[in-house]
Amino acid sequence: MSGDGPEDDPRSPLDPLLDTPRREGLTGTAPADRYKPVADPELVTTPPDGRPMELQPAWRTDFPVDWPQDHYVERRDFMKFMILTSLAFAVGQAWIAAMSWLRRRRDRHPELRIARIDEVPVGGAIEFAYPEPHDACVLVRPREDLLIAYSQRCTHLSCAVRPQVDRGVFHCPCHEGRFDMETGRPLAGPPRRALSRIVLANRGGAIYAVGVEERTI
């Protein structure tokens, strides 16, 4: 049977004239080398004045014309900002190290007489300042045989904690933080570190503050 080619089949979508000379470039049947791009894909940036990038002012590299280059510049600037942040963190770390070194140099606490033992009632508290005049502390006597003192500075945001001897806790009114009275450890609220403990000494019936003990837990 003659005429069995695609041109005779009414269902065929192929144009029988695809291979016609001078139509190749229009129908997609031409060899691939006919479709070579006219410009290098790398050179998609065309500055407004049309001159090549080498002749453009330096600022144009930071203000690209096309989106792919703009994305590259964005990420590059973000990376520079992150490295600046890294520098800030390292400087902060050095600052902590310097503060630690300074603290160790002047880590000599004076002795301070707080009160006589019989001046502190059982279940009562006495406020005092140690080691500096602005460092508020509190001495409590929850039992007859127990005297303990802590810095009043809450380890969350430095609000003054208040003793609640009947409940056996120190209470921070700012954010409802609570510390155990006997150990100074945080029980509730945002604080995570224990209160600084004031080291006490009994000298001839009088209570002296002789040091500060800071703790992470």
């Binding site: 990420r75 590059r76 890294s86 963190f89 902060g92 770390q93 902590i96 190290a97 503060m99 992470t216």
Partner: protein, 75 residues
């Protein structure tokens, strides 16, 4: 002569470097907060090792920044 990186290649290299920088910066942030907590709690044993580690991270980041400038120069 070494062929310069294409725009797409530079983008990929930059994304890799950025991921590494982010990792180091997060590590430094963790070091800083942990060291501050230790310092406020009176524990000074971790301060100097953490400072050295943080500066090593900064050094690595500085090296990556240097390479970034080099990358920008080889178009």
């Amino acid at each position: 002569m070494r062929r310069p990186f294409s725009r797409k290649q530079r983008g990929t290299i930059l994304a890799g470097m950025l991921a590494f920088v982010m990792l180091l910066v997060v590590l430094q942030l963790w070091l800083l907060s942990a060291t501050m907590n230790a310092y406020l709690g009176g524990d000074e044993s971790v301060i100097w090792p953490a400072t050295v580690a943080s500066f090593l991270c900064l050094l690595l980041n500085g090296g990556l920044l240097r390479y970034l400038y080099k990358l920008d120069g080889t178009r």
